[in-house]
């Protein structure tokens, strides 16, 4: 699984880089517009170390934000399943709040909470929270009639059991949503760092942009891709382990 993800990423990255080189040499562009392979290699040697640390920093915040949003989405979705009205209300609220672009809200968050970890965490969580919430509400509000009917008719149904049944029956769907939202957590963290933080790979990209240094950005993108792929693979692996355990129990 790891190999496949990394290969896929390398193919996409290589294609992107190849296209840039075709443009560079086809249009005879200077290294200022598109860096030469030599310059990219030189930049990699100088910046791979610090950028790797920055990516790990970003990844750590993204993972924390992702966990935070999964917990929050689970709690809200479990509450939201109680009645159709609350579920519908939360869904409408989620749609509306999601409609606000995070780049417009982020500066307010930074002004209120400063440019430290808390702001980055909150923005990362906000970006991946709403898609998670919508899927979780869908899963936890939808009865699994053939199973739930048995427990209801025997009077053994509790809210915990209901949540467990619905989670078990939709574990594949939940895993897919969680893996999908992981990339959003990473994107959210990078956006937050780009806007106002003073750490992480988003901040490094911003500095590179100030310096019009595309070589640095390409190195950063490579490391972000590898970091994100590793995180996605870890999540998929955890999802598979969970599904196997649930099936065997």
């Amino acid at each position: 699984m790891l190999h496949r993800r990394i290969y896929q990423f390398l193919i996409i990255y290589g294609l992107g880089l190849g296209l840039l080189m075709v443009l560079k040499y086809g249009l005879n562009l200077s290294d200022y517009v598109i860096p030469s392979p030599d310059e990219i290699a030189r930049t990699s040697r100088s910046y791979a170390g610090p950028y790797l640390l920055a990516v790990l920093n970003t990844l750590a915040v993204a993972i924390l934000g992702h966990i935070l949003s999964i917990c929050l989405a689970t709690i809200v979705a479990v509450i939201g399943r109680l009645t159709a009205w609350i579920g519908s209300f939360i869904r409408t609220a989620a749609y509306n709040i999601q409609a606000y672009p995070i780049v417009a809200v982020a500066p307010i968050i930074f002004i209120l909470l400063g440019d430290g970890l808390l702001s980055r965490l909150l923005i990362a969580a906000m970006i991946c929270y709403f898609p998670l919430l919508l899927s979780f509400i869908g899963v936890f509000s939808e009865p699994v009639r053939e199973i739930e009917h048995f427990f209801e008719s025997t009077g053994r149904m509790t809210w915990r059991l209901q949540v467990k049944i619905r989670a078990f029956e939709n574990v594949q769907k939940l895993t897919t949503v969680i893996v999908g939202s992981a990339t959003m957590a990473m994107v959210g963290t990078i956006v937050a760092e780009f806007i106002a933080a003073t750490a992480g790979i988003g901040y490094s990209i911003r500095i590179a942009l100030y310096q019009s240094d595309l070589a640095k950005i390409l190195v950063a993108l490579f490391l972000i891709g590898v970091g994100t792929s590793l995180y996605l693979v870890s999540l998929e692996w955890m999802g598979n382990v969970l599904q196997k355990r649930l099936r065997s129990s």
């Binding site: 562009l29 200077s30 200022y32 860096p35 930074f110 500095i207 942009l209 100030y210 310096q211 019009s212």
Partner: protein, 325 residues
């Protein structure tokens, strides 16, 4: 009947000649460095008051922005003329970009640092020691600040560098001693707020402390100068005329009108003050021509960037500054 026919013929001739004139205009794109604001007043004035058209050009004056790079657009052929800061130009030329400087808009770099004189004594560069100084890491203010520190023998661990973004709260709250801003743009707005709060303020001018870092200049490609010299000459002539007129106090009301139409966000009272400051920063010393290139400032800028390893090696300023001028 004859009168009607005559009138028809005359109006047709006028329309035809107008069309003919329109067709003759050569269309070019001009990418500014930043959004429409006071630093672009001459560009906008030249466009709206027909200076370009009178020189046979139809110039699309396009606003810049944080993620726009006029130099890249020039090379890709999306624009024929542009505005870029000197550090951008030097970085690009160091990487082989075929750029030529046509005119230097700011004779004094507008980048300054604001501070509160009643809270600390500041009489010279040495007084930066021990201070908390705002800096945009990666921006040209970082290069200027590091040059200032080097000039006054202050090492980085003797100052506290504070990463700056768009939010001025740390300065308002007094958590940062010096905050970077553009003297003709944000400084007027921040100054007005501080005045309202009854606070005094002053500016640290790198130029006065001996660091003359060249600022925004009008640029084009070498190919443009070689293949379309007449277009370049017409453009520069029109632009210079437009800028001179926009900064002429006699045309102040028209210039303000042009700015207010292009930038609806900034109040008129602020625009008036900004225009006065811009005039001081852009007009050359007596006897000089608008847009003249300060070769000494460019040399110092190149030396600063080389010393800070912002460019890999020396840049030959001769062809860069002298090809057209």
């Amino acid at each position: 009947m004859r009168t009607i026919i005559n009138l028809f013929l005359i109006s047709s001739l006028i329309s035809l000649s107008a069309c003919g004139q329109k067709e003759k205009l050569e269309e070019v794109n001009y990418r500014l460095k930043w959004l429409y604001n006071v630093s672009t007043v001459g560009d906008l004035y030249a466009e709206t008051h027909g200076y370009f058209a009178r020189n046979g050009l139809k110039v699309n004056v396009k606003p810049g922005g944080p993620e726009r790079d006029a130099l890249k657009e020039l090379e890709l052929g999306h624009a024929q003329f542009g505005v870029a800061s000197a550090d951008q130009v030097l970085r690009a030329v160091a990487k082989g970009a075929p750029i030529v400087v046509l005119a230097q808009l700011f004779q004094v770099n507008p980048l300054h640092w604001i501070y509160r004189p009643d809270r600390m004594a500041f009489s010279g560069g040495e007084d930066l020691k021990g201070k908390r100084i705002g800096v945009t890491f990666g921006g040209n203010d970082e290069a200027i600040l590091r040059a200032l520190l080097a000039r006054y023998g202050i090492s980085e661990n003797q100052v506290d560098l504070f990463s700056v973004r768009y939010d001025y709260t740390p300065f308002y709250e007094g958590r940062v001693d010096f905050w970077p801003l553009y003297l003709n743009a944000q400084a007027v707005i921040i100054g007005a707020k501080l005045e309202k709060a009854g606070e005094s303020y002053a500016f640290l001018s790198p130029d006065q402390l001996g660091v003359r870092f060249a600022a925004n200049s009008v640029v084009t490609t070498r190919e443009m100068v070689e293949k379309h010299p007449d277009t370049v000459k017409s453009f520069v002539a029109a632009l210079r005329e437009g800028w001179r007129a926009a900064l002429d106090p006699r045309n102040q009301e028209q210039a303000i009108q042009v700015l207010l139409e292009a930038d609806r966000e900034t109040p008129e009272i602020i625009v008036r003050r900004q225009l006065a400051v811009t005039r001081d920063l852009m007009l050359p010393p007596a006897g000089g021509e608008f847009g003249q290139i300060d070769a000494a400032a460019w040399r110092q800028t190149e030396e600063i960037m080389r010393a800070q390893k912002l460019i890999p090696g020396p840049v030959d300023l001769g062809p860069l500054l002298g090809t057209f001028n």
